[in-house]
Symmetry: C3
Subunit: 476 residues, 3 copies
């Protein structure tokens, strides 16, 4: 006997007021089927290169999605019971059906969250599931998803077409040899699946894996990273290799927003000292990161990679979880960041350079109206990044438009960025964003602050034109 | 001749949109009469123990409520004219009728504030007053309230039943002998009126009354607090006594959120030094408070008292008011707090311990989406406290739901906490909260983000189930 | 062939919900034609004194308005192309028609911004333009505005009547000889166009022009500013002169909110040292500014000038723009400010002095509910300033009401302040503010949180009564 039917209302996430909704519907209709530009994400390159089949429902939708698991864990369900691998290899729940059941039994925890919204969309649209998750329905839903997932049509490359993804970017460490992207290119997808250059690990001087990352950088670039000059040259080489592989952007997630450059001699001496085994002080490590961000902007002017910044997250808030289960397990907590002062040295030097482009993201909503909209609203190089992480939710995205638009306008924003590792959720995320934008614009129309034809044009721009413009292709 | 009639509209504080309001009404109807769980408040234990009659209208509704008096004072009315006692005992306005008149004449100052909303509710529902306060109506309203207040049915114990209060907590210093609670228990109300353990005064090392508080702690516990070990032992003893008297929680309001532990030897030495009469530095005092919060979490694991934190208030912003009229006179101003970093040491150690429970409150709205929702949405021990102090207002509570729900969900929040010393306002506060939650949930339903049956279940949970679960009874 | 017609909808910026809008319309009708109180602005005194004709459309509406030019510049249009004068006198675009065309071609950039809203209002109401700006319509619109601007009725003094401006304040440096205001007074407008005392340049000790400003202060006051005592005396003299010229307020825009006084001897010694050519440290300069704010409050008690504070803007974020084009070119970025702690010394001393009045502004929205509403809601001397700069926008003003009202009430706010140098936009700004307030109040009525007659009274108070009360005339 089925539980409640699961349906997607055509007006979901549109404004409740009937007249505003009517306008929103008309706008949404114009953008619903536009191609998806997915220029910042965390799907693995390997999945595209090998066109790997997806695993079972639990391994696809639960275990790797720390938004899903953190909610269950917050109510006392252990990571072991959710099948999250232990760093020491000790056994955890291996029965995917049991994991799936735990999830379905706790479906009510997701009420009011974007995970609920996305998963509903995926269940109906992607997996053809039409009943609400519950203890009772868990096994039937599992079987249905499993059948879809096992189909030969349900492979990463096929989903690119099915989802209408025009272009998607992976995120790759500076030390990547880009072998997966080479294989992707061989299969004719080189312009559609592109890498993003993420050098955090080699910028975090003195970090646990820094020395070995620097060695790896030397190996992959063929340039000796034994001194600071070689380090910079190796970075430049990798950036060229990324550009050649289709990359359009670099990505930088440090705790602070500081971009103060060091004196080159000081940077070089610090590099040598730490490479020789002397641990830097915390302030030295921060200063080096800041210096490298400044230096990255300089390289960005040279090679055209768009620089994406997203500071302000205190990683691994619980050391026990880090130790037992590793990174990215839901214990990354945002903190305030001195954003306007932080990026000042970089923008003072490169912010009006016509070769420079950067996108500023935040997980601290207070900087939207106070700092980022004013900055994006004046510096020609800067685009204000879409709300993401905890904030690409219905109310979060609405607040973003309300807090940023009046100062930055629409045309200094990046358009939507999905930022997910959950491949099957990409269409749901873009669709939700388009609905929220349609609703925000419809309200401007209803309040006679914008004409409807303009609103429709803006909606199209936010969905496609602006994300394309924010990450322009680089001649190579 | 009466002034304007005062009525309570059945749809007050529900959303304006007719379709959303219709849903909100249905949800509200299901929760309007649920019992009140009032687990954090400031009504005096003595009032329950002695079932003290309330004083006249001014002494009941104006003089002790610093939300009411601050608004009058902000427009230049003196504290003396409001009958607020001077610390030096100099005479102040003693004519309650005159104080009441001042209040009624200035009724318009409360427009748009929650005080206005609550007092209207009280006037109509509790005191059967049906005209708007004004210079003209002041005396008639005074007489009407006075008649109600003098009735033998209008006593604290009787009001527990009339208001539908299932359980209420007082707030009691660590040095309390709990005699009032003993008397409450003798009258069969021991499970219904419970204490909360508030040790701020003995944690604030070197504070003006610290030494004498520590002595008092020694006396009431029968344990020598002459050294740090005895101090901790005395705290443990009091916590046991509080648990035996029905307590379920401790409460902690320090300026900072820091919970960094000190080395035990350092804490012990500092304790000895200050007890010997050497004033600690400001930083030493902060460090000791942080250490005691960490230590409290440890004790909480041992005895089960839920730890409530509410940092970030700069007390006594105006020294003249403190000197002339004492504490809690409307000059406590919120300031930013480094919350995520502050609680990190405590949560790193105890945050995933199944014995530990804490509730994090704030008066700084910026931490809802940035820090507290992410923390409550992952740590199993943490619940995000209800908006309170300046924030348990219609718009304040709406913002809380909008800022917190998408990341923390509903089930990692504490449910409503009224936090008031104004006993007669308790039903109004719970009612307002239920209306706002009904409206927020109705909007989710209207936007097809939640089913109505789920919304109703959540509304019930927020009103009763979650506050009960956030403060579970402790076996004793 | 005309492009789209440009009209102003009578319901613009009112709430979309039909029932709420109906109430908002009724409230708005009662306030739409009230006189404008414009007590904080940046129109030049000379324009009134000489009743100078305005220049052409580009020089009137684009070149001097950094909200307009920053948006164009943010999309890569050069300041030169916008006719913004270079500090080195090098040639820039001199063809006003070309500048106007650039603006019209980029009209879409302003979608969703208040500039768009204000300019539409100006075009229709002030310039009788009825088509949407575009490349195609640019020249026709230029001609139409030019015709209006050239009319002898379109002069500052005539516009005072046409716009219904009851009183307007200019902003004048402490070193102003007030000659323009003398001429204004001779023409019988002395009570209608008044100066505001802005001493920032002489408070910023060690700043690039400080020494020469201090000399100028000595000259204009006739008091030797060669030492600190003379400096204070000269300030007092200028304040008296400003009061005599009709001034009601002083204005202070420093980076920090700190108001900690220095020891008089230390202040005096620092003053002497810097005047002798020794540069102060950054911290010394900040300390002197803080000290001068404290001292200003003291003077304010003596002479009655209302003290306006608006800290928290990092000026000249891009040094190249400062160097090439000067100050106020769109590169002033807000930053967080420690507001409650900053103003504590000043308010502790003067905050309850019946002679003192101050108005606290912010460009950081987070302090509305956390710090400024609690402070304005208790200190009798403090009014919470209107949202301005980036925040006097439809959504910005709505957020202000929602964040501030519940704690500060309406009667501890300043009422609307337009804060503009764009004279022709003043009616549009007041009109927008009145619409937003009408909408906010209508919502309170629709939610049965306020009676409609009260809401109308509040709307009138916010438009006229409160701004008049916030800046009372000073007997002279």
């Amino acid at each position: 006997m089925p539980t409640s039917p699961l349906t997607l209302h055509p007006d979901r996430a549109l404004p409740a007021d009937p007249a505003v909704r009517e306008i929103a519907r008309r706008i949404y209709t114009q953008i619903a089927d536009l191609p998806l530009i997915s220029m910042h994400g965390h799907v693995e390159a390997q999945a595209f290169a090998e066109n790997t089949p997806f695993a079972d429902p639990a391994q696809l939708l639960i275990v790797p999605d720390h938004y899903v698991t953190r909610m269950l864990a917050s109510q006392g369900i252990s990571y072991d019971a959710l099948g999250i691998p232990r760093t020491d290899g000790a056994p955890v729940e291996a029965d995917s059906r049991a994991i799936w059941r735990t999830f379905c039994e706790n479906w009510k925890l997701y009420r009011g969250t974007p995970s609920r919204y996305w998963i509903e969309h995926e269940l109906v649209e992607v997996f053809d599931v039409h009943e609400v998750p519950s203890a009772e329905s868990a096994d039937r839903i599992y079987d249905q998803i499993d059948a879809v997932v096992s189909s030969p049509d349900f492979r990463p490359q096929q989903l690119l077409d099915r989802f209408g993804i025009e272009i998607i970017s992976t995120t790759d460490p500076a030390t990547s040899d880009l072998a997966h992207h080479a294989r992707i290119a061989e299969q004719g997808l080189g312009e559609r699946v592109v890498p993003t250059f993420r050098p955090d690990a080699v910028y975090q001087i003195g970090g646990p894996s820094w020395a070995q990352e620097v060695v790896a950088l030397g190996e992959v670039s063929g340039i000796d990273t034994g001194d600071y000059t070689g380090f910079l040259e190796a970075l430049r080489e990798r950036r060229r290799a990324f550009v050649a592989a289709g990359a359009r952007a670099s990505d930088h997630g440090h705790l602070r927003a500081d971009t103060t450059p060091m004196d080159a001699a000081d940077a070089s001496a610090l590099y040598a000292r730490v490479l020789a085994g002397h641990a830097p002080s915390a302030e030295e490590a921060f200063a080096f990161e800041a210096h490298m961000l400044f230096t990255t902007a300089e390289m960005s002017c040279e090679d055209g990679l768009v620089m994406q910044l997203h500071p302000g997250v205190l990683r691994d808030h619980h050391s026990g979880v880090l130790q037992s289960y590793g990174k990215d397990k839901g214990y990354d907590i945002p903190v305030p960041v001195d954003y306007a002062r932080g990026v000042q040295p970089m923008l003072d030097r490169f912010g009006r350079d016509p070769r420079f482009r950067c996108i500023l993201f935040t997980i601290d909503e207070t900087v939207y109206s106070r700092e980022l909209a004013p900055i994006a609203g004046t510096y020609p190089s800067v685009r204000l990044g879409a709300p993401w992480w905890f904030l690409d939710s219905p109310d979060g995205m609405r607040r973003f438009r309300e807090l940023a638009t009046e100062t930055a306008g629409f045309y200094n924003t990046s358009g939507f960025v999905d930022d997910t590792r959950a491949f099957a959720s990409i269409p749901a995320r873009h669709d939700l964003s388009r609905r929220i934008d349609a609703g925000y614009l419809a309200n401007l129309v209803a309040e006679h602050r914008l004409q409807e034809d303009e609103a429709t044009e803006v909606a199209i721009d936010l969905s496609s034109t602006l994300p394309r413009a924010a990450y322009p292709p680089i001649a190579h």
